[in-house]
């Protein structure tokens, strides 16, 4: 995995690197930790179960970490989801969840490289 690949993925690597004190090693290492984050599964399960409170917590956590690393493809839908869940909005979250899943998968592939 390289910075370029992440940039191609859609991450704002410049911002991300800045947050990591411009240390490629740190940044890339932290990014590698994202796909395996347990909160993704927690989110999916909670949404499935209709437990909006738990889903909010999971989404909120993901928003924080992906936001720090400027992983926009995940960050954007997660962020939106978080606000909806904060308000405990009853709606169909499937589109957002799908988007998140896709972005997660894609990042996972890149990290495996």
């Amino acid at each position: 995995m390289t910075i370029d690949m992440l940039t191609a993925y859609g991450a704002n690597t410049k911002e991300g690197l800045q947050r990591c004190m411009n240390n490629d090693g740190v940044y890339l290492r932290l990014v590698k930790m994202i796909p395996g984050d347990g909160h993704f599964q927690k989110l999916y399960d909670a949404v499935e179960a209709g437990d909006l409170a738990a889903a909010f917590e999971a989404a909120h956590a993901l928003k924080g970490s992906t936001g720090n690393l400027a992983l926009t493809p995940i960050f954007a839908p997660v962020s939106e989801l978080t606000e909806l869940l904060r308000a405990r909005t009853e709606t169909d979250y499937t589109p957002l969840v799908t988007a998140i899943r896709d972005a997660q998968k894609k990042l996972c592939d890149i990290c495996a490289d």
Binding site: R19, M21, N23, G25, S65, N68
Partner: protein, 877 residues
């Protein structure tokens, strides 16, 4: 001389005691015996005394009586003459009827009697006529008629004699009388009788011994008591009273009766009220019919005994007293002596004990008999007895030596003749050290000490005391070894130095020669531009080499003398690596070597280190790799942060691997030594000072790191350097900063302690990165509860500020803050807590402030803004 003497003293004491007791018994028995014999003696003495007195007195009395008999006879004659002179007609007196007596004659008799009585000693002088008429000196001349009296018959029959009256008709007293016939015209006209009264008799008998009056009785032979000086005696007959007497012996009564019967003297003893005394019966003697009984006064008798006894008792007590005093004196002296002996014994025991701690055994040798005796300690088990001939002892000891040379030496040292000779010459102590295998390999000091000498000064006894000095000996050997090693090291050092100097001078000379040579060539061929250029190029090369050599040498000497000081500064490892990479690549290109460079595992590239020297180390190693790798080989350089340590440090690991010629196993240990270069043909062709690795390793040591090498001849080598370096803050250039923030002093944040309470690992890591960069020391708590715990755990004043995430499991940020504010310390109430939240809505800000938070910052945060906020919070209070 220890317990034995004490026991003996005890036995002596008992003996003494027994003697004392026996002596006292003896004395007491003697006293008893003495007392008895005293009594006997006194009795005898008193008997003798009373006997003497009584006998004398009896004789006296007897004489007196005899005198008086004579006296009355002459009185009778006197009266006769007086009758004649006065022409008294006795016929006229001796008429039958009293009425018919011529009163004139009676009156004449009366007158004559009076005149005689005055002149005579008799108390009473009487004339008794033939009819018993008693003519007295009284007014009525004829006082009584004594015809029935015994003496009447005697008197008118013309006898002269003595009589006694127990109750006088006239005076009712006891009297003794002496009578003698009076003649007229050749016929008995009557008799005169002179009486003595009680006083006279009393005076006669009275006697006292030792101021006590004796009781004396005058008795008739039939026992009639004529007179007793003891007026209380009522009995008439003495012999009748005998049965009431408590005679001391049964025979005494018999003796008394016999004495009366046979007219003898006898002594007898009896008791009065239990008290003994003596008495004597004395016959007056001659024809007397009288006996005297004298009693030795009981009081006198008893007091004599008493006195004697008292004297005896006093003597005895004095003796006993003296004896006791003497006894006590001896006992006390004995005890003192014993105490002293015990003290001495204890002292000697103490010394003995102390000696036995120091010396293992004591053998005393009798020099005259040539024998030994073990006083203390055991002879080493089983070999020799406690006593024996000296040679036995010596041989046993010598037998243990396995080594002939040592045995001979030992034999010499312990030789009896040699020792005694030296002692006789005056030496009192002889010592020698022997390596005697008594138990194991051991060293002993044998001391031969003279104990006693005879009158000529020759030794009679000496002690052998053995001290185990194995410990000391071993220490000595150890010290010797250490010294030898030090000396060897010093010598090696010296040799190294000389080698160094000679190598160095050789190495210096070579390029020097080249420089001189090529300079000359250049001067010679000054016009040959090519030649000159070539020479100059070579001169430059040699100069460089020479310079590097000299630099190396200077470095080495500086390092060796400890004059190196690291110049630590903030540096960027990445930049260093870049430089090294560049250098190595350029060098490697000349030899077509492949260089790979990997430094991406360094998360903290900003460290505080001596940049120059670190580079030097890495360049040296990398340079060697290039030098010793033949064309076509490869070099790989890796740098990684092996371990992050607390307190803002990390351990960094640099490794340089090459596929070069490698080093042999024999050489490897010496690689870091000065001037050590492997000697083989390949090395010899490669230029080198042999100091490079020495310097490198010293520098690594100086930086507190480690350097190691592994290599296989022909395959390649790997050098690994590990260093622990502290991190360093670096403020990031901030393009995103909202520059309306007031500038703050970044340095003020360095070293401050911050508690980061964040559950998300990724966020936490990023936050820590930023905070560390600002110089904070970051502690992480994973949730609100942990945060509170950490604060209470670390105590007041530890954390300068808290960065608190809101959304956390277990205990969230608001809750945690409330708990912290609830802690009962001033510190907890004033500790700045800044909220971190993804939610920046105004309500949330309000809620943060409500729970006690001081500030609020949104996530993802802007580092500058964060720093500014933190600074503001820290310095606001």
């Amino acid at each position: 001389m220890s317990m034995k003497t004490a026991k003996k003293s005890d036995r002596n004491a008992i003996q003494n005691l027994i003697c004392a007791v026996l002596l006292i018994c003896g004395v007491v028995l003697s006293f008893v015996f003495f007392y008895r014999s005293n009594v006997k003696r006194i009795t005898h003495q008193n008997e003798t005394y009373i006997a003497d007195i009584a006998t004398q007195r009896a004789a006296l009395v007897n004489d007196l009586f005899a005198e008086n008999l004579a006296y009355i006879e002459s009185s009778a004659v006197v009266l006769e003459t007086a009758f004649q002179n006065e022409a008294v007609d006795s016929a006229k007196l001796n008429v039958e009827a009293e009425e018919q007596i011529d009163p004139v004659e009676v009156e004449k008799v009366g007158r004559l009697l009076r005149a005689c009585e005055e002149r005579f000693a008799f108390n009473y002088f009487r004339f008794i006529d033939l009819h018993g008429r008693d003519y007295t000196t009284g007014k009525t001349v004829i006082a009584a008629n004594v015809a029935e009296r015994e003496y009447f018959g005697q008197g008118i029959s013309g006898k002269t004699g003595m009589t006694y009256i127990l109750d006088s008709k006239v005076t009712s007293e006891r009297q003794i009388g002496f009578y003698s016939p009076v003649y007229q015209n050749g016929e008995i006209a009557g008799f005169v009788i002179g009486f003595y009264g009680e006083d006279f008799i009393n005076n006669l008998l009275e006697v006292s011994v030792f101021d006590h009056a004796c009781e004396v009785l005058l008795c008739a032979q039939d026992g009639t008591i004529i007179y007793s000086t003891d007026k209380t005696v009522e009995a008439r007959n003495y012999l009748d009273t005998l049965s009431e007497f408590s005679f001391s012996q049964d025979t005494d009564e018999r003796k008394v009766r016999d004495a009366f019967a046979k007219r003898n003297d006898t002594l007898f003893s009896y008791e009065v009220d239990g008290q003994k005394t003596v008495g004597i019966v004395s016959y007056l003697g001659g024809d007397s019919d009288f006996l005297m009984v004298s009693y030795f006064p009981v009081e006198a008798y008893q007091s004599m005994i008493r006195n004697a006894s008292i004297n005896g008792a006093v003597l005895l007590l004095s003796l006993i007293g003296l004896f006791l005093v003497a006894g006590i004196f001896f006992i006390v002296r004995f005890l003192l002596q014993k105490k002293k002996l015990l003290e001495e014994a204890k002292n000697s025991n103490d010394i003995h004990f102390a000696m036995s701690r120091l010396f293992e055994n004591f053998v005393i040798v009798n020099a005259e008999k040539r024998t030994y005796h073990y006083i203390e300690g055991m002879p080493d088990v089983g070999h020799i007895p406690n006593d024996g001939a000296y040679d036995l002892f010596a041989d046993d000891l010598l037998d243990r030596f396995p080594n002939d040379a040592e045995r001979t030496e030992a034999a010499e040292q312990i030789s009896f003749d040699r020792l005694t000779r030296q002692m006789n010459q005056g030496q009192n102590i002889i010592s020698c050290n022997l390596h005697a295998p008594i138990r194991d390999e051991e060293w002993f000091t044998y001391n031969f000490i003279v104990v006693s000498r005879n009158a000529e000064g020759r030794v009679t006894e000496f002690i052998i005391a053995r001290q185990d000095i194995t410990g000391l000996q071993k220490k000595e050997e150890e010290i010797r070894r250490i010294l030898e090693r030090a000396r060897d090291e010093a010598e090696k050092g010296n040799r190294a130095k000389s080698n160094f100097l000679s190598s160095m001078s050789h190495d210096i000379r070579t390029p020097m020669n080249a420089i001189i040579g090529y300079t000359n060539i250049a001067l010679d061929k000054i016009d040959d531009k090519e030649m000159v250029r070539d020479s100059l190029t070579k001169i430059v090369a040699s100069s460089h080499y020479l310079l590097s050599l000299i630099n190396d040498v200077l470095d080495m000497s500086k390092i060796e003398s400890g004059k190196i000081q690291l110049n630590v500064n903030k540096c960027d490892l990445n930049k260093i690596f870049e430089r090294i990479a560049d250098l190595t690549r350029s060098q490697a290109r000349k030899k077509s070597l492949a260089v790979s460079f990997n430094t991406d595992q360094v998360s903290h590239p900003f460290v505080i280190a001596d940049e120059l020297r670190l580079e030097q180390v890495l360049i040296n190693i990398a340079g060697n790799a290039v030098k010793y790798t033949p064309d076509g080989g490869s070099i790989s350089i890796d740098a990684k942060e092996a371990e992050e340590l607390p307190d803002g440090k990390s351990r960094y690991r640099f490794s340089v691997r090459d596929t070069g010629i490698g080093m042999s196993e024999d050489f490897l240990p010496h690689i870091f030594e000065s001037f050590s270069r492997e000697t083989n043909s390949t090395i010899n062709k490669i230029q080198g000072t042999g100091l490079g690795m020495a310097i490198t390793s010293r520098l690594v040591e100086l930086m507190g790191g480690e350097i190691s090498v592994s290599s296989k001849l022909g395959e390649g080598s790997e050098f690994v350097v590990t260093l622990t370096l502290p991190h360093w803050e670096k403020s990031t250039e901030n393009e995103l900063s909202g520059t309306d923030e007031a500038p703050f002093d970044k340095a003020a944040l360095v070293g401050k302690k911050i508690l980061l309470v964040e559950d998300n690992d990724i966020n936490a890591e990023i936050a820590t990165l930023v905070l560390s960069d600002f110089g904070f020391t970051v502690d992480r708590a994973c949730n609100g509860q942990e945060g509170v715990d950490r604060i209470t755990e670390k105590g007041s004043g530890y954390y300068d500020v808290v960065l608190m995430d809101i959304q956390m499991p277990v205990v969230n940020g608001y809750e945690a803050t409330k708990q912290i504010r609830g802690l009962d310390t001033e510190y907890a109430k004033r500790l700045p807590i800044i909220a971190m939240s993804a939610n920046a809505y105004e309500e949330d800000v309000r809620e943060s402030l409500a729970s006690g938070m001081n500030g609020h910052i949104a996530k993802p945060f802007d580092p500058q803004a964060l720093a500014a906020e933190l600074y503001r919070r820290i310095h606001a209070r």
